[in-house]
């Protein structure tokens, strides 16, 4: 009897909350639904992006531990498929320990910029960075080329055409590798370097094609939002509790979360300094400000020799901000879909819990450098609970109406 009474009370509260949404709130709610997400954007820089054979080859490469210094690290080592393609660690562990938190991969292909600092302008170019990073795969592009020749010839050639002759290319070589690999790279002829780079770019393009298939799934919030948009009373698996609805109101209203966490992916794909403190012991991390020159000079960017795009199709790179105090310690807004079940938070896993994240935004601490873009917001204990309850509706593993 008491349970029925409580259930009825929650239902009334819930109904009151939804009926009260203003037209502006309804538009905001609709804008966050996965139903508002457009088609996956065409990637003109990778003409194999939507090739299913490339995606299948990319999936094989994603799990290939042979592309690492110790033979034990694959993309999937940090991007665990059963864990939203991330690893639950503050700092990713490849052949060594990195300086950053692993990002989840769902719908990453929608973003014009990859990594926390956006140092790559496509998923295919992104995929090439960890393979040669000393703390991640610790490998090099010449070794990748030899591995493709030895283990993936058939799959590669079916998509990209004949493999180059690598008989004169040493086992290891890269402009980024250890001194020995760099020396070997310098001694290669220009056409040999080009052949290796082109093969390496194609490995990235296959990995891109696979990662484009990793998508967000609708959650209870999406069912709720779609019902509200349709003018229906959200019921059953579409209903939110009073506390969750209250959190949603804060999210799209007074707490300003939606300023940056906007759209169906809950991100504006841009870079913001939010005063997240550095991790003691790690090298200085300037975020977006630290990578602009590297991005512009990257041979694997949209304007580079291995891109399939015309200059006119590289608008993101051509019109990016290259100098501004706002870039200092600015990091990409992460999606909040599934975030409730993947602590720790921030670019180097600095904050352990959602409660502590909300404390961070409440206090809006002064950054060690640059200009913070957040202002303090004071929450009641109930407001904190409500926001967290709402965030859990973006994660069906945690969603418990």
């Amino acid at each position: 009897m008491a349970r029925v009474g409580l259930g009825a009370a929650l239902a009334v509260l819930s109904a009151c909350g939804q009926a009260d949404f203003s037209e502006q709130e309804k538009r905001a709610i609709a804008s966050l639904s996965l139903s508002a997400l457009g088609e996956l954007p065409h990637d003109p820089s990778n003409r194999f992006a939507d090739n299913p054979h490339a995606a299948a080859f990319g999936e094989t490469l994603f799990f290939d531990t042979g592309m690492s210094a110790n033979g034990a690290v694959a993309c999937a080592t940090c991007h665990l498929p059963e864990r939203q393609f991330q690893d639950d660690l503050a700092l990713a562990e490849g052949v060594g320990t990195t300086h950053r938190r692993t990002m989840p991969l769902a719908n990453a292909a929608y973003s014009p910029w990859q990594f926390w600092d956006g140092r790559k302008d496509s998923l295919w170019s992104q995929a090439l960075d960890p393979i040669e990073d000393a703390a991640e795969h610790g490998f090099d592009r010449a070794a990748v080329a030899h591995r493709v020749v030895a283990h993936h010839r058939e799959a590669y050639e079916a998509i990209f055409g004949p493999l180059p002759d690598l008989s004169t290319v040493p086992a290891h070589g890269s402009p980024r590798g250890n001194p020995g690999a760099q020396d070997a790279w310098r001694r290669l002829q220009e056409d040999e370097r080009y052949a290796v780079d082109r093969l390496y770019a194609n490995v990235g393009k296959a990995l891109d094609a696979f990662q484009r298939t990793i998508r967000h799934q609708p959650t209870r919030f999406d069912r709720f939002a779609d019902a509200v948009s349709a003018g229906q009373e959200p019921a059953g698996e579409a209903a939110l509790t009073a506390l969750e609805t209250e959190g949603l109101r804060l999210f799209i209203g007074k707490a300003n979360c939606i300023d940056c966490h906007n759209g169906p992916r809950f991100t504006d794909d841009h870079f913001h300094n939010t005063g997240v403190p550095p991790v003691p012991g790690l090298p200085e991390d300037r975020g977006r400000a630290g990578i602009i020159e590297k991005l512009l000079a990257d041979p694997f960017n949209c304007l580079g020799a291995f891109s399939d795009a015309d200059e006119a199709e590289c608008g993101e790179l051509r019109f990016m901000v290259t100098a501004s105090p706002e870039l200092e310690r600015a990091f990409k807004t992460p999606s909040l879909r599934g975030a409730a079940s993947r602590p720790p938070y921030m670019h180097s896993g600095q904050i352990a819990t959602l409660e502590a994240v909300i404390d961070h935004y409440s206090e809006a601490p002064k950054p060690v450098s640059g200009i913070s873009q957040i202002s303090p917001v004071i929450f009641t204990d109930r407001g904190r609970l409500a926001l967290i309850a709402f965030l859990k509706t973006l994660d069906d593993d945690l969603s418990d109406p």
């Binding site: 009370a9 051509r318 901000v321 290259t322």
Partner: protein
């Protein structure tokens, strides 16, 4: 019972007690001039802006066309146009660095690389330089 429930609902509405972020929360001023055609500050030019393909959507990289005329209505064909802007209520600039990439004739200049990554009040400032002089104009845009 029902009164108790409604009372509880009223309390929920005031769950957040105070905000120092009043500036960011504030809606755009009610009297904001949203006109897409305006004279420059010193009155040298009359400038009209229009999105190349409307409507303007939050998040998408897109282009505008700015039409620059002298006060007498004659088109300005040899202007240098630079673009700046931002969100006055947030205190930050544009997320991209738009550029005027070409004169299309009759005083029409293509402005590429514009993005509005947030909803709210944005300013778009055009600095115009030609033999007629240097002048600037700021347009207000409200993005949903």
């Amino acid at each position: 019972m029902l009164r108790w429930i409604l009372g509880g609902a009223a309390l929920l509405v005031v769950a957040v007690v105070g905000f120092m972020a009043w500036r960011m929360m504030a809606p755009p001023p009610a009297d904001l001039d949203l006109s897409r055609e305006r004279p420059t500050e010193a009155g040298i030019y009359q400038v009209q802006i229009a999105p190349q393909i409307g409507p303007v959507v939050q998040g998408a990289l897109h282009s505008w066309v700015a039409t620059v005329r002298l006060a007498d209505g004659s088109p300005v064909e040899d202007a240098q146009v630079t673009i700046d802007g931002g969100m006055p209520q947030h205190g930050h600039g544009l997320p991209t660095a738009p550029q005027a990439t070409g004169h299309q004739g009759e005083g029409r200049y293509l402005i590429e690389g514009v993005r509005f990554n947030m909803g709210g009040w944005w300013e778009l400032t055009l600095d115009i330089s030609s033999p007629a002089g240097e002048d600037s104009v700021t347009f207000n845009l409200v993005i949903e």
